[in-house]
Symmetry: C2
Subunit: 374 residues, 2 copies
């Protein structure tokens, strides 16, 4: 039995400054080590209610249908898309990086006719462009935009499009996997209808859950579906009976992960949501200034840069991958490589959640200087 010889998996220390996961506080990790309990236990159902209530606070919403999908951020994306889309629906999707492309792909799998609003990587999709797409497709079932494009660092404005769609039958779907708790987001005030996130970015909770919220307008659209949702696992018409309703068994909730999220949300609210946004803004801006001082080129559109996720081309004609490997193995710092059109030349640096500190900026810059000198 050679397998019995597998050693304990004790992770080496890493400073996580990539596109996710972000650093996780030991308080949150310890919450995942608490003793197991049933997903229908009255004690656990109270904890689940607290998670929902804290998620509403972080999403800035009073939406009834708010919960954590039992899967990673991508499962949140799929939940959002497949519960809204029916075959033949027209869906307008902003595609200016990896994650808009995924929404378009998932919507197509659900049978949608996708109108892709493509923009070069790093650019936002302008509200004007969305408005003109709406004019061309007034019966669109939904418009989907990525609030915080993790592949490019672009910070998509949402407010104007939300106001535009509020007076129509079209829903507004927003991917804020990397946005939530890192930059301002106002689900109710901005008229966002289906909004999902991930835990492993600015919430600083391990990956495995996807916070999601549906407006009343979105719930009404789901209630009027004429076809069954194509996914059994992600079907909110069933899942909401556990989270919001009579506690009917659907699938076993990921208990430990939810205890971790519970503690992570407590930490977010201890800091205060607005203070957290301000911390991300300040640390990220400082970081971007320092990176530019080193002749690195920021790749996201000026005026629309996420503070929590910076993409930049390394100065000179340095090859990024070997340098990134040395950063990890010699300095213990993880950053991400560029994806898509940024592959080979860019880094993605996340200063998210617990990672957004001046000390981390200093440590990263010090390591970078040493690597560039060497």
């Amino acid at each position: 039995m050679p397998n019995t010889a597998v050693a304990v998996a004790a992770p080496p220390e890493r400073l996580l400054l990539g596109p996710g996961p972000s650093p996780v506080n030991q308080r949150v990790l310890d919450a995942q080590a608490r003793s197991m309990i049933g997903h229908l236990d009255p004690w656990f159902l109270e904890v689940a209610d607290q998670v929902v209530e804290m998620l509403r606070t972080v999403f800035r919403t009073t939406n009834r249908l708010t919960y954590a999908v039992s899967g990673t951020g991508s499962a949140g994306m799929e939940t959002a898309v497949v519960n809204i889309v029916e075959p033949g629906d027209t869906v307008i999707v902003g595609v200016n990086g990896v994650f808009g492309g995924r929404i378009a792909d998932t919507a197509q799998r659900a049978g949608a006719d996708v109108v892709a609003l493509e923009e070069p990587w790093g650019r936002i999709v302008s509200p004007e462009r969305v408005a003109s797409a709406m004019k061309a497709h007034p019966g669109a079932k939904m418009v989907a935009l990525v609030h915080a494009e993790t592949s490019t660092g672009a910070h998509q404005p949402l407010e104007e499009t939300g106001a535009l769609l509020a007076d129509t039958d079209t829903l507004f779907l927003v991917d804020t996997v990397t946005g939530l708790a890192g930059v301002p987001l106002e689900v109710d005030d901005w008229h966002l209808d289906v909004v999902y996130s991930g835990t492993q970015k600015c919430l600083s909770v391990p990956p495995g859950l996807a916070p999601i919220t549906f407006s009343e307008k979105a719930e009404a659209v789901i209630d009027r579906r004429s076809t069954t949702v194509r996914s059994w696992y992600l079907d909110v018409t069933a899942v909401r009976r556990y989270w919001g309703g009579d506690r009917a068994y659907h699938h076993t909730a990921p208990i430990s992960s939810l205890l971790g999220l519970h503690e992570g949300l407590r930490m977010v609210l201890e800091e205060g949501l607005e203070a957290r946004w301000a911390r991300h803004a300040e640390v990220g801006q400082l970081f971007q200034e320092h990176v530019q001082d080193r002749d690195a080129e920021l790749l996201a559109q000026e005026g629309h840069r996420l503070p929590q996720l910076t993409t930049f081309a390394l100065p000179g004609d340095v090859e990024e991958a070997p340098l990134r490997k040395r950063l990890l193995l010699e300095h213990g710092i993880e950053v991400g490589g560029g994806l898509g059109t940024f592959a080979g030349r860019a880094w993605r640096v996340g200063l998210m959640g617990d990672g957004a500190t001046h000390a981390n900026v200093d440590r990263f810059l010090h390591a970078l200087d040493e690597l560039l000198d060497g």
Copy 2:
């Protein structure tokens, strides 16, 4: 900010003898509290490889495509179904409890024509019945059976059907969510093609992951698909590039949960898989004898009872729900209520993983006697 007042979630002590989650050893829980690390970190990729290798040992397979789905057992079910089924396929499903019904539902959502082999709850689906359904539908894409019906306690024989299907183009899909590591399962020897499980049953790991394995025959069917898999999140043609291939990013793996599974699998292999099967068999049989001594009626078919999950009708005309509540709140023991046709009169008692001990049988019986006397 009333939310900042949410207290730490410290679970009360419970003895988990329901249909899952089962008790989790502190070693496994502690593994979930280890420091966060990236899902593409070379250290973590080695751990992921070890998880795959240990899963192969537990599944008794050499299947290349073996991994843990980033979701609960139900996500494993959906992964199995949606990657195989294309619209118009005929699928034969044994429906003798909740979980066969779910497979049928999910297959229908994926566009299949479902041939349901219905049996009364608690009965198995006989190999003869499967064989005759195969004669009636020789072009069936797959046959699906539930190895361990968590809703009834029935223990489905698989070997004969596996041998029958091995010589055909039909795939054999098996749900062993409650079976894996609790009763014998031989994926390769029994010619099972798509087999999934959950972590929170006989593996004694928290819920959140679904071990799954695909035979070469199943992989070939997937490679010949003429339509795109309807789910993006669960599409194995993409996911296998992370788990088996070039480590391409698909979605962020649930790191902490995988560290927990890693430790849980180490514990299974320390005990030895066959010793673990024997422990479940012995403890379960003893339990069922004691329960019958108390005039409780076992509801699964004689000769086909799972040792790890027992359904029984309480003696006399006791109402089950109030008694179950007292068992939880006064004795700290969780068991499950009956589902479907067993609702209102039955209990489901799991002696799974770490829970399958003589001491737990004694503690349960002592509490039961007290409640029935009271």
